[in-house]
Subunit: 388 residues, 2 copies
């Protein structure tokens, strides 16, 4: 039984954009609304995500600003911020609202600018991103996010023998997928050797183990299940799980397990009435190569400890057992933080409609999206299924 | 018919706090949970509001941080930011979630630090607050929020002849009410003469027409209607309206009308099955004295154009026709932005239970809260009623 349906999807190319946030969001929003075949006046509300624009661009209270820009002033719109899980949370709350009968049709999306187009260079943006780590215990120690995920990944390597070559193979795979995605930030292939030759950012991560800072926007139109059939190409949302984990990292008993992802996935699968075995492909939050390894295990697509070997063996590539990040993931598609969660939903929607061309996962009818925030202390897992 | 019920309420004293955000929020959260007679493990989710901590304290992704601090790690928690309407939006989404059957019992609240305890002085915080104004059209002109509300209020004065003395009477009233509130930032009375003798901040506002920057937190426990009777002192939530208005100010046809407030109030009253005449008292968003005048008219407690005269004649004072801001309002109680919306809900809850002592509105059984964000481009109006 569907909780809701996505009936329209849109996103900008991820990359570098010299465009104010409301205009960048508008590009994705207009695409989503056009794709759904609706007008702004058909919508009841907007669920909007942005993570860092206050710090990056001194631009907050974006809800009415984006609504005004897209011709939807008057609609209720609220902004969500949950670090990198920002717009997955907007999506979750939107699905709850249409499922609970509050609204019939809503727009959900997010926008972010993270490149020097904001006026902030990479060291400054790294400091801003680090605001999502613990203010009292972690920031004073100089911990930034490459270090956060390096700590989790090092533990995974210690527990399971995961290697730097295996991590590099995740980057190789996702760049290979991203080449097939015209909206991806990066359009070039890489090799394990090239990744391993890169400069160390935070051991074990080299430059190419890390996703980029990107600008971009994404949006979807979500409607209640009973209205879905009146649209051209609905895709069902059958489960959304959301959990948090204890923070800071030092308080996590088993940091590499990413417990919130396991809890969120269990909840989402239970709602959908499926198990992990039913998932044909997934978009997961590969902010770093090690993060994909842990995510692929946490949501059950790969046995614990095998995330690295599966990637290296091509089992999570397009054409493999169960592809992970056919879009190119954060690693190659890019990571405009507040847009990332709904961009995963865009990819699921288009894949389950069978409209993505060369990167199509053949025969897919059930997919999962895994979007995490901070030190994996927030995770939202969504399950979508082709409408039968 | 109730949409949900508030069964526990708590807040810190508003003022100056040298306390990390999660600890400050914890104080309010523990109060709310104790008041409801529940344990953290009885809650299903947390709906959390904070507006400016990224910019003020480089502290984001606060959801898991506050959940971890209060012993609720694991629960789904999302952060809302809608400028000064931040935690009213968290409250709205929480009510939708329990009404729609997603959750049974949730914690809702907000926290903010705005004083120099953040490390930012008043000019810096004024610039940070201005991030809620239009980034491209207003910020470059140097517009900050005293100026925003001065523009709206000047138009009101032009249309209706509202005077500076009438504005001052709003400050006098709210300071008088605030003296009766032990959790208010300010505990002293003022006079019309003292207000008018103050330095001009943004014409027509003098220093005492402006609410303070405060630190503080507030929280409530919200449960579904069908569970409410199993708690000691439930107060019904019968309506919540939420609307936006076009922004920037220059695009508003009639800025002093604060159209979003009118739309939100209509929606809330319709849900509750009441009219404005049924509202016994209200907490409104008096970030500046002129804002209270416009709000009191927009939600229908005072005829259009009469907000100033009603205040000056004492008709909105405790003991008057229909009191406005018995808590002291933002003006005297204080304005820790992300905590303000749920602090209004705390006041409504305690008033409707009849437990606030000297500032009790006698015989009140229906009340409204009006929480706005930015240049009044977001407004949430909530109606609460004593459970019959």
């Amino acid at each position: 039984m569907a909780r809701a349906a996505v009936v329209g999807a849109g996103m900008t190319k991820f990359g570098v954009h010299d465009t104010p946030l409301q205009e960048l969001f508008g590009e994705a929003a207009f695409d989503a609304v056009d794709d759904a075949g609706v007008e702004m006046r058909d919508l009841d509300a907007i669920y909007f995500g942005n993570a860092m624009s206050g710090q990056a661009e001194n631009d907050t209270h974006l809800g009415p600003k984006v609504a005004s820009h897209i011709g939807a002033a008057g609609l209720p719109v609220q902004r969500f911020e949950d670090a990198c899980a920002t717009s997955a949370n907007a999506f979750k709350n939107a699905v709850q609202a249409v499922e609970g009968g509050t609204h019939d049709a809503v727009l959900v999306g997010g926008v972010e600018r993270c490149t020097p187009e904001t006026g902030k260079d990479t060291p400054e943006m790294t400091r801003i991103f680090a605001s999502a780590s613990h203010r009292q215990y972690e920031q004073p120690a100089g911990l930034t996010f490459p270090g956060v995920f390096a700590l989790l990944t090092k533990r995974h390597m210690h527990e399971y023998g995961t290697t730097e070559e295996q991590l590099a193979s995740v980057a190789v795979k996702n760049h290979s997928h991203g080449r097939l995605n015209p909206r991806a930030h990066f359009g070039k292939e890489t090799t394990v050797e090239e990744v391993l030759d890169g400069p160390v950012v935070a051991d074990p991560f080299r430059l190419m183990d890390c996703c980029p800072f990107s600008d971009g926007a994404s949006a979807v139109v979500v409607v209640s299940d009973d209205l879905a059939d009146s649209y051209d190409a609905p895709v069902d949302v059958t489960g959304i799980g959301h959990a948090t984990d204890v923070t800071p990292i030092g308080d996590k008993a088993t940091p590499h397990v990413t417990q919130a992802a396991r809890d969120a996935a269990s909840e989402a699968y239970e709602q959908a009435g499926i198990t992990a075995d039913d998932v044909d492909f997934a978009e997961v939050h590969d902010c770093f190569t090690g993060a994909e390894v842990m995510a692929s295990e946490a949501i059950g697509l790969v046995p614990d400890g095998e995330g690295g070997t599966y990637a290296a063996e091509g089992r999570t590539s397009l054409g493999g057992d169960r592809p992970i990040n056919p879009s190119g993931g954060l690693k190659a598609k890019g990571h405009p933080i507040g847009a990332t969660g709904t961009a995963q939903v865009v990819e699921l929607t288009e894949q389950l409609r069978g409209t993505v061309g060369d990167r199509q996962v053949e025969g897919a009818d059930t997919a999962a999206a895994h979007n995490l925030g901070g030190d994996a202390a927030t995770t939202v897992v969504s399950v979508m299924e082709a409408r039968s």
